[in-house]
């Protein structure tokens, strides 16, 4: 009987840990969504050859290249901190890329170096942001991805991702086409 209670106690402890992990993920993201600063990341169409990967839209961003003169010590797959600034239209652009975490008052996001290539004595560092998937309802995602690509290619429409960022952590909130959420556009089309 004693053995049983010990087992039960340990099992409950494990159960709490199993709940804690996803719960802490929710709390962290909710905190970013509530307290984070809103940024608009202008998107571009994805490679049309990229196969449909499931029930999410694969996003690609316009301002994701940082250029530095000469050689760079950056390498692909490296975790970096991208300091952001807003352009004249209110869309985010890269101010600089840092290896160490910037001070708390800086506006930055944790990201990964996608690849580094060199062109005319300039190193072009392409950034992969940790918000390149926008999940949607199973049947709506393929249609949304098609629309997203169409709008991104169309120079008369503006497509961007709404992202909340706090202390380097980012949460993708929505994908917007000319001020309207893509989910709403899909609903209207249906």
């Amino acid at each position: 009987m004693k053995n049983k209670s010990v087992l039960l106690g340990l099992f409950i402890l494990v159960a709490v840990a199993q709940i804690y992990v996803p719960a802490s993920m929710i709390m962290e993201r909710e905190d970013v969504l509530k307290k984070g600063k809103l940024w608009k990341f202008k998107t571009r169409p994805i490679d049309p050859n990229d196969p449909m990967r499931g029930k999410y839209i694969t996003l690609a961003y316009e301002n994701n290249v940082y250029k530095i003169p000469g050689d760079s010590t950056f390498f692909s797959g490296q975790e970096v901190f991208v300091v952001l600034k807003e352009d004249e239209n209110g869309y985010s652009t890269i101010d600089k890329v840092e290896i160490d975490r910037p001070p708390a008052d800086a506006e930055y996001v944790k990201a990964e170096i996608w690849y580094v290539n060199y062109y005319e004595d300039t190193a072009r560092i392409s950034i992969r942001y940790p918000f390149d998937r926008f999940y949607m309802e199973e049947y709506k995602a393929p249609e949304a991805e098609r629309l997203y690509n169409e709008f991104s290619r169309d120079s008369t429409t503006v497509t961007y991702a709404v992202v909340k960022i706090k202390d380097g952590e980012a949460v993708l909130e929505d994908v917007v086409v000319d001020g309207v959420s893509i989910a709403e556009i899909i609903l209207k089309e249906e």
Partner: protein, 476 residues
């Protein structure tokens, strides 16, 4: 005939060692020499009917003082146990399958990602399967702790739900995530259930998951790194594996785990490499040697391919590596290898080799020198060949080819001696594989290659024919 059947059953129950009996399911029975073999199945079903009638007349036999009440109980228990064992095995299999299917089904329904639901409602639903899985776990611990079916099914379901809740939250909050971190978190969170629910299926799922983690982290990642966490998780599963070994060596769970563990280690040993892969060949040879020795020490009674996974993996692995290294590419690279510092790969190779040498010495001490198989010492020969390989590439190539040939011929000879067709053909296959490999070498003439193929083909015919002939003459 009925009298014969009754006598058999009483014999089986009252004598611990009947002269000769067969059959693991249903009723065991003595086979009289004059019975033809095809008669056995009909005889078995007949005796099963006899056993049923026998159970019905037990009270009568007690009344007539032919058998005692205790003996009657023993007989009832014997037949009851047999039926229960096969039934409970089926229940365990179907419980696990059912739990896995229900778990996956619930996950798929939630993964539909209902747009009608708000973010917080979706997040709450992501916890639902997890909480159900945990509640079933508590119920099993309190009420069904002795039922293997319940424990295994609860653990399998809980395993699915832990992974599902994390990935569903990632989906709801659009987190692309890192597959390595996800897999490690999932496996670590499920590891205690192996011990708390005494579940073998959970240990198997964790081995599969953590192997995937090691491959993802150390082979496929853009910034690969050694995954030491893999070794910690495998080490933490060893006590569970050992307890299965102590309790039931013949259980299906133990046999399956005995395959999964060495297979997983074979896949993940390469993750310890730090870009001087050449030394990892020593590590792999030693690991396969270790596997062969462990197979012989742990399962000396089991000789089958399926029953003794360690020996099978060790032997096939050794042959595959030898064949791969019978080409010149490896030795040409090795003779050009430059080392400024001692590579960590060499340390890994040295550690595994020392462990294998230790186990080999232990085996020689507790068994005999004669018990050492040829495949168990190939790693030692390889270390010598490898050392020569730094200065010459010709000698190692010749030596490896000779080694494969000797190994193949030895296995053929063993197979012929033991009257074992499987072993004989395995040896012939090794020799054939060696010849096929040499077929690709351009500097051997077509005539020489042709003659070799004809000889081995003739060897296949002659070997099998002679062995079958020998068997037939024995039967007569």
């Amino acid at each position: 005939m009925i009298e014969f059947g009754l006598n058999l059953i009483i014999n089986r129950v009252t004598q611990s060692n009947p002269v000769n009996y067969f059959g693991s399911k249903g009723v065991n029975f003595v086979v009289l020499p004059e019975f033809p073999k095809d008669y056995l199945s009909s005889c078995k079903s007949f005796l099963s009917k006899v056993a049923k009638s026998f159970l019905r007349v037990l009270p009568e036999l007690i009344g007539a003082d032919i058998i005692t009440t205790e003996k009657a109980e023993e007989i009832k228990r014997y037949f009851g146990d047999k039926k229960d064992r096969s039934q409970s095995r089926l229940i365990v299999i179907f419980s696990i399958l059912g739990a896995l299917l229900i778990g996956l089904g619930i996950i798929l329904i939630i993964a539909h990602n209902w747009d009608e639901l708000s973010r917080s409602t979706k997040a709450a639903f992501a916890f639902l399967p997890l909480v159900i899985g945990q509640s079933i776990g508590v119920y099993v611990l309190l009420k069904k702790a002795d039922s293997t079916g319940w424990r295994e099914a609860a653990a399998a379901f809980l395993f699915c739900t832990v992974g599902a809740s994390i990935s569903l939250i990632s989906q709801i909050y659009n987190i692309p995530g890192n597959l390595s971190t996800f897999l490690l978190t999932w496996m670590v969170l499920c590891l205690p259930t192996v011990y708390l629910l005494r579940s073998a299926i959970a240990s198997m799922l964790i081995i599969a998951g953590i192997t995937y983690y090691a491959c993802e982290t150390s082979y496929w990642a853009r910034n690969d790194r050694p995954s030491w966490e893999y070794w910690v998780v495998v080490a933490l599963l060893i006590p569970h594996y050992y307890s299965l070994y102590r309790k039931n060596l013949k259980s299906n769970f133990f046999i399956l785990l005995s395959w999964l563990i060495p297979l997983s280690i074979t896949i993940c040993l390469g993750t310890l490499s730090d870009h001087k892969e050449e030394f990892m060949f020593i590590a792999y040879f030693s690991w396969f040697g270790l596997s062969c020795i462990s197979g012989d020490l742990l399962f000396s009674e089991r000789k089958g391919i399926i029953g003794n996974a360690y020996t099978t993996i060790g032997s096939i692995g050794t042959v595959a590596l030898l064949l791969a290294l019978s080409f010149e590419w490896f030795w040409n690279d090795l003779s050009k290898l430059e080392m400024s510092v001692l590579p960590s790969d060499l340390m890994v190779a040295a550690l595994i080799s020392l462990a294998t040498i230790g186990l080999l010495m232990w085996k020689i001490k507790y068994k005999t020198m004669k018990s050492v198989q040829f495949t168990e010492i190939i790693f030692l020969i390889f270390i010598v060949i490898f050392a020569i390989g730094f200065s010459s590439s010709v000698i190692p190539i010749l030596a490896i080819n000779m080694l494969v040939l000797i190994l193949g011929l030895r296995i053929i000879w063993e197979g012929a001696r033991k009257n074992h067709l499987g072993m004989l053909n395995y040896g012939l296959l090794i020799v054939t594989a060696l010849i096929v490999c040499r077929f690709f070498d351009a500097d051997i003439s077509f005539i020489a290659r042709g003659v070799m193929f004809v000889l081995v083909g003739a060897g296949f015919f002659a070997g099998n024919f002679l062995l079958l002939k020998k068997r037939r003459s024995h039967e007569k």
